[in-house]
């Protein structure tokens, strides 16, 4: 075992449950317990639990915290109402994506307010480093990395609210989509957010490290009759791919702008200046240099990350960034960047390990749940 890898507070639980553990972003994480496909289908049909404790959790508080975040996030934070959560990006001066994040405006029972930034595990150190110099301009703001003091559990699926909602002091059934609340589960403090990364309805919970196993087991128990199971990163990846959601390091990187990634909705440029805003205005004015599309290869074989997208005569016109079999659709799906935004629909070809296979470019997502509440 690599001793440089960190473990989450649920590590012993995963191992006892027979999970196959793999290194991911500096952590040992479960890739699956029994079957990626079964875990994927359980999420689409009832509910699953993911340990996402590897994700970074940064707390910003004090006078000026919203203004500081406003200066580094692509979306406005100063008008983020108490109890609300927003998807946003952190960009560099060139408009390249440093990370995609969730920012929440929260209040602890004593009345004190703060902002919570949930960042990708692989980008946590980078984002801390990126924000730190900004603290000089906001002397009353403090940033605390809460990651190692807490655990994070995603409970995702159509039955989650009905099965688990009432087990929080603030009934999560009253929590609207992209809202968050600081509340309790059986006397244990918990931040509950109605968010997720699967394309299903559900909750994301942040608890104290020492409460992680108890809360995890209680959520499993609450969903037992509905068929809840634990799911690993394998299913998380196929679920987010079906939902057309980008993943940092695949669809997102420092050399890709939010406009190219199809995330213009997460950039609020009206009368705002933030790191990268000028560059993003230029990209919008000139038109993006490439565009993210869905791909359905006409093949049973899976087109994977790094495969070239080709035109009829074999010129490379793009590259696949993610690909997997879709358990819901029963055929392979992929996401790719196409270098010419005017040619982002219709038929192309992909280099499937040496074989030129036709593929249809499709709008994203591949899967959308029937009702978003």
């Amino acid at each position: 075992m690599n001793s440089l890898l960190q473990t989450t507070p649920l590590d012993a639980w995963h191992r006892a449950a027979g999970a196959r553990m793999v290194p991911f972003a500096g952590f040992e994480m479960p890739i699956y317990y029994r079957s990626i496909v079964a875990e994927h289908q359980a999420c689409r049909q009832s509910g699953v639990l993911f340990d996402v404790s590897h994700m970074g959790r940064l707390r910003l508080e004090g006078d000026g915290a919203a203004e500081l975040l406003d200066a580094v996030l692509t979306r406005r934070v100063t008008d983020l109402g108490l109890g609300r959560t927003r998807y946003s990006l952190v960009c560099n001066q060139e408009g390249g994506i440093l990370d995609d994040v969730l920012v929440s405006h929260l209040q602890i029972p004593s009345g004190k307010q703060y902002y919570l930034l949930v960042v990708n595990a692989s980008n946590r150190a980078k984002i801390v480093q990126w924000i730190t110099p900004h603290l000089e301009r906001f002397p009353f703001v403090t940033m605390t990395d809460r990651t190692e003091l807490t655990a994070m559990i995603a409970v995702q699926g159509p039955s989650v609210l009905a099965a688990c909602g009432r087990f929080f002091k603030f009934d999560a059934n009253r929590l609207r989509y992209y809202h968050s609340v600081v509340t309790e589960h059986l006397g244990k403090p918990v931040i509950v957010s109605r968010t997720g990364y699967t394309g299903e309805d559900g909750l994301e919970l942040i608890v104290r490290r020492e409460d992680a196993v108890r809360v995890w087991e209680n959520m499993l128990l609450a969903g037992r009759d509905a068929g809840f199971i634990a799911a690993g990163l394998g299913a998380r990846d196929t679920l987010r791919t079906e939902a057309g959601m980008p993943l940092y390091g695949h669809e997102l990187s420092e050399s890709i702008t939010p406009i190219e990634a199809g995330l213009k909705f997460a950039c609020n440029l009206d009368g705002r200046e933030f790191v990268g805003s000028e560059a993003l205005r230029r990209v919008i004015a000139n038109g993006p240099g490439r565009v993210r599309v869905g791909l359905v290869p006409n093949s049973k074989r899976v087109v994977r990350e790094g495969a070239a997208v080709l035109d009829r005569v074999g010129n490379t016109i793009g590259e696949v960034t993610s690909g997997c079999p879709s358990p819901t659709l029963s055929h392979p799906i992929a996401m790719a960047y196409i270098d010419d935004p005017n040619r982002a629909s219709g038929e192309v070809f992909v280099d499937l390990r040496g074989e030129k296979v036709p593929a249809e470019m499709t709008p994203l997502p591949f899967y959308q749940r029937s009702s978003s509440t």
Partner: protein
């Protein structure tokens, strides 16, 4: 007739071999081990060789694809492919349940007797599988 796992030979690359006699010739029935199938998890595709193809020991003869990855299959012995289990590709779910009977992939006419001596017996293969990778 059910194949006994413990009497099979194994390649380090996780293919199993059952050596049979057909009309006086040695024929190797080839499949993938239960351990490898378990490790691959959730198979979605298998690329099979064509009958008549002449394989060299260690040569890639096909691939098996799971949700997460593609893994090449390597010929455990040299020789001509006599027969291919065509039904297998459409019934990968059954491969997991019965890797040593239903899960046979191909029959190869053994060209070089010495190839068999390079394979592991069941105990040696089990030992390899239990070592941390």
């Amino acid at each position: 007739m059910s194949r006994d796992e413990t009497s099979l030979l194994f390649a380090e690359s996780h293919e199993w071999v059952d050596v049979t006699q057909v009309d006086g010739a040695q024929v190797a029935v080839v499949g993938i081990s239960a351990f490898a199938i378990e490790q691959l998890n959730d198979l979605v595709y298998m690329d099979l060789p064509k009958a008549g193809r002449v394989l060299t020991r260690g040569e890639e003869f096909g691939e098996v694809e799971s949700v997460k990855a593609v893994s090449p299959l390597y010929a455990p012995v040299s020789g001509e492919v006599l027969e291919v289990h065509q039904d297998l590709a459409d019934h990968l779910d059954q491969l997991k349940d019965d890797p040593y009977n239903f899960g046979w992939i191909m029959k190869v006419k053994v060209a070089n007797q010495d190839d068999l001596g390079l394979l592991l017996d069941h105990a040696a293969y089990q030992k390899q599988c239990s070592e941390p990778s």
